[in-house]
């Protein structure tokens, strides 16, 4: 009974021989010259035995075997491999799913082995597998074939292991080869891929692109570049189409790169760059990045272009051309390069509208892998307003402090004046009330002296008059303050005034053997002062000095000189000096070291008060037993009376050097 047989061999002679042989045996024979044709036939024809040539163009025998074995409807088929290279390549035909293998030798042998196979293939259920390759011992090894096979093996290994997907399709676009990477990429089994239309692996837009590309005859390499990759099974791929042709056939090799990861990475970088550009752009402050050394601008935001002279037209996005040079100042760049650290400075410049603008310039290094400064970031904060605000704050603080100082001075002056005024008022009233009875007593005493009275009584009357004078003196001293509101300023020649005052005391001084030495500065300016009060100062100073000198060398030395905005007068004496424990108290009212009856304790207090009234200062320098020196400073001009300098006020309280 005849059997259904398919013979696949690209060699027409072999095909014809076997077909004839089988047809003579009464079998139904179909033939195919390559794998693709065979697959076409198998779509509608189910043979019992298939003969497959191992070495064929398009789909190889091996692949065809696998495909056949993967087809459920062909489960029972008896598969026979025809190998022309059995002598050169060891073949485990059972691994390919084949039941038998015939080594192609002479035509006679081939016919004999076909007959043997038909025996083995017997009716279904009784078929036997051949254990070895039939006719293997009848073929001789050919060296050239071995070498070719060896080199093919190398290429196969390469193709199997390369990461690019490789397809080959025939002129009718049917896939005849797909390497494992291609299979993996497409996600369709090799068996299914082989023989199917190449463009069927694409869908939608990708399908259109590939269709359009393959619509025209492919006579030169074509490519779908990675710049515009297409989708393949959810991956982004670039494709290279390489036409391959020889005398007999033409096919196309397709190399597929999976660029998904790279594209994703690129996209990520691009997104990040966009994000950074946007971020930098959104900064209201001028921001730019420069290359070290040459200071070429790599990037500048629009604020920088608007506000910084010379930055207009600089690259606004990351990676733009670095055409322009950074504007001054270069100090921040230099410092960042030198210190490899951030740098901050304030920079004042004229803006385009001519106004002065203060910028706070921040510069930061960006390092490369080796730790060198690769880029420098600079951004500027306009702190003009802040500066103004700070200045205004400082000014108002200063003004406040000044006001406070003035207030304190005014308060001190007020307290002192109030004190003086109350003492003055009291003194004035008391003085008048004391002087009147003193006057009456004194007058009566003098009238009594006109009478004829005993000498003892005359002496008593003299003593009475002395005591009246003493009481009068104290009273008048006290009263000096009641006149202080009558402060009459005129231009005073201090030398002339001193001479005049000294003249009043000349008699007393001569009597006490006191010499007055004058060291007058020739260029001493006249000063604004109350002449009477100043005369009072000189009188008191001289009386005081005289009283301090009881024996020995008795000299009063007055020395004048211009100083700052006023004059300095030094009164020195060769007297007993002032004890360091007392130097603080000498200007206090009612303080005296003189014997009772000699001093009122008001002399220096009056001096102090008058000098203070003139916004001047006085201090005492002395050592017990070595004389005393008083240093008086008086300003040339009298300010408003309630407005003396507080520094002088303080100095005033430091009475002297305690040595």
């Amino acid at each position: 009974m005849g059997r259904k047989i398919l013979v696949v061999d690209n060699h027409p002679m072999v095909l014809k021989l076997i077909a004839n042989l089988l047809e003579k045996g009464g079998h139904e024979v179909r033939t195919a010259e390559d794998g693709l044709s065979a697959l076409d036939i198998l779509k509608s024809y189910v043979p019992e035995i298939i003969f497959v040539d191992l070495v064929m163009p398009n789909i190889s025998g091996e692949k065809l075997c696998r495909i056949i074995r993967s087809m459920p409807e062909l489960q029972g088929v008896y598969l026979v491999i025809l190998s022309a290279i059995a002598a050169e390549e060891e073949l485990d035909f059972t691994a390919l799913g084949a039941d038998a293998c015939i080594a192609k030798g002479s035509m006679n042998n081939l016919a004999r082995h076909v007959a043997e196979v038909l025996e083995l293939a017997g009716p279904a259920g009784r078929r036997k597998k051949s254990r070895n390759i039939l006719g293997l011992d009848e073929v001789a090894t050919r060296e050239i074939t071995r070498e070719l096979l060896s080199s093919r093996k190398h290429f196969e290994i390469i193709l199997r292991n390369m990461s690019e997907g490789i397809f080959e399709f025939a002129e009718n676009r049917k896939i005849i080869f797909a390497n494992p990477a291609a299979v993996a990429l497409v996600g369709i089994s090799e068996e299914k891929l082989l023989g199917s239309d190449f463009i069927d692996i694409f869908v939608d837009d990708s399908l259109e692109t590939v269709t359009a590309l393959l619509g025209i005859p492919l006579d030169s390499p074509k490519k779908i570049s990675e710049k515009a990759p297409i989708l393949l099974n959810g991956r982004l791929v670039s494709l290279q189409f390489l036409p391959v042709s020889d005398e007999t056939s033409a096919s196309t090799i397709v190399i597929i790169h999976d660029v998904t990861n790279r594209k994703q990475a690129e996209e990520k970088i691009s997104d990040q760059n966009k994000f950074l550009s946007k971020l930098i752009e959104s900064l209201p402050h001028p921001f730019f990045v420069v290359r070290p050394k040459c200071y070429r601008v790599l990037l500048a935001n629009s604020s920088a272009m608007r506000h910084i002279e010379g930055l207009a037209g600089c690259p606004q996005h990351i990676g733009g051309p670095d055409s322009c040079k950074a504007p001054p100042p270069f100090t921040p760049f230099e410092r960042v390069q030198q210190d490899k650290d951030s740098f901050l400075m304030e920079y004042v410049e004229q803006a385009r509208d001519g106004k002065e603008v203060t910028h706070e310039i921040h510069a930061h290094p960006i390092f490369d892998k080796e730790g060198r400064v690769a880029q420098i970031i600079e951004y500027r904060l306009d702190i003009t307003e802040r500066k103004k605000a700070e200045q205004a704050l400082q000014d108002s603080k200063d003004a406040l402090q000044e006001a406070l100082d003035n207030l304190q001075v005014a308060q001190q002056v007020a307290i002192r004046q109030e004190k003086l005024a109350s003492i003055g008022t009291l003194a004035s009233g008391v003085a008048h009330e004391i002087l009147n009875p003193l006057n009456i007593i004194g007058t009566l005493a003098q009238v009594m002296q006109l009478e004829k009275i005993p000498a003892s009584m005359r002496e008593n009357l003299d003593e009475m008059l002395i005591q009246i004078k003493r009481a009068t003196k104290i009273t008048n001293n006290l009263r000096a303050f009641s006149h202080q509101h009558d402060f009459e300023i005129s231009m005073v020649d201090v030398h002339a005034l001193f001479d005049k005052t000294a003249a009043l005391l000349e008699y007393d001084m001569n009597l006490d053997n006191v010499r007055v030495e004058r060291h007058y500065a020739p260029d001493l300016p006249r000063i604004e002062a109350d002449e009477d009060q100043l005369a009072q100062v000189f009188l008191n100073m001289m009386s005081n000095a005289r009283d301090a000198m009881q024996s020995g060398d008795k000299r009063i030395i007055i020395e004048t000189r211009p100083k700052d905005d006023g004059i300095e007068i030094r009164f020195a004496d060769t007297g007993i000096g002032i004890d360091s424990t007392e130097i603080d108290k000498i200007f206090d009212p009612f303080f005296t070291t003189k014997d009772p009856g000699r001093g009122t304790g008001l002399g220096l207090w009056i001096v102090y008060s008058i000098i203070e009234r003139h916004c001047g200062t006085i201090r005492a320098e002395s050592k017990k037993g070595k004389g005393a020196q008083f240093v008086i400073f008086l300003p040339t001009h009298q300010p408003d009376q309630e407005n003396c300098n507080p520094a002088e006020e303080k100095q005033n309280r430091t009475h002297g050097d305690r040595g």
Partner: protein, 124 residues
């Protein structure tokens, strides 16, 4: 006997007036005393003294007031102000008001007599 020169003593302290009166009469003057300013003006009109000693601070019409009034009515009157008041520029002020001399209390009688004789010499 030559007619004595008449001095009007004006001071609200009677004790002082009295002691001054004793002194002035002792040194040869005729005196009239009053402790009241208004009264002093009346006496000036009636008695027409050549000299007046004048206190400044007095109840009622005070020394200044009197100076202002007599400056025109008695331009020849020699006025010596004797006061316990002592303020700066007082002398100029009094001079301007018509006083001829200023003596401070407690008074030095020697100075007073010097002043008086100075004036009297001028009269003679």
């Amino acid at each position: 006997m030559k007619k004595k020169i008449k001095i009007l003593i004006v001071d609200d302290e009677y004790a002082f007036c009295r002691s001054l009166k004793i002194f002035l009469e002792k040194i040869g003057f005729q005196t009239i005393v009053t402790t009241n300013g208004e009264h002093a003006l009346d006496i000036l009109k009636e008695e027409n003294p050549a000299i007046m000693t004048l206190d400044i601070r007095m109840p009622g019409l005070n020394g200044y007031d009197i100076l202002q009034k007599v400056k025109r009515t008695h331009p020849d009157l020699f006025i010596i102000v004797i006061t316990a008041i002592d303020v700066p520029k007082m002398e100029e002020m009094l001079e301007h008001s018509g006083a001829h001399a200023l003596l401070h209390k407690p008074i030095d009688l020697q100075k007073l007599s010097d002043t008086l004789y100075g004036f009297v010499g001028h009269l003679l």
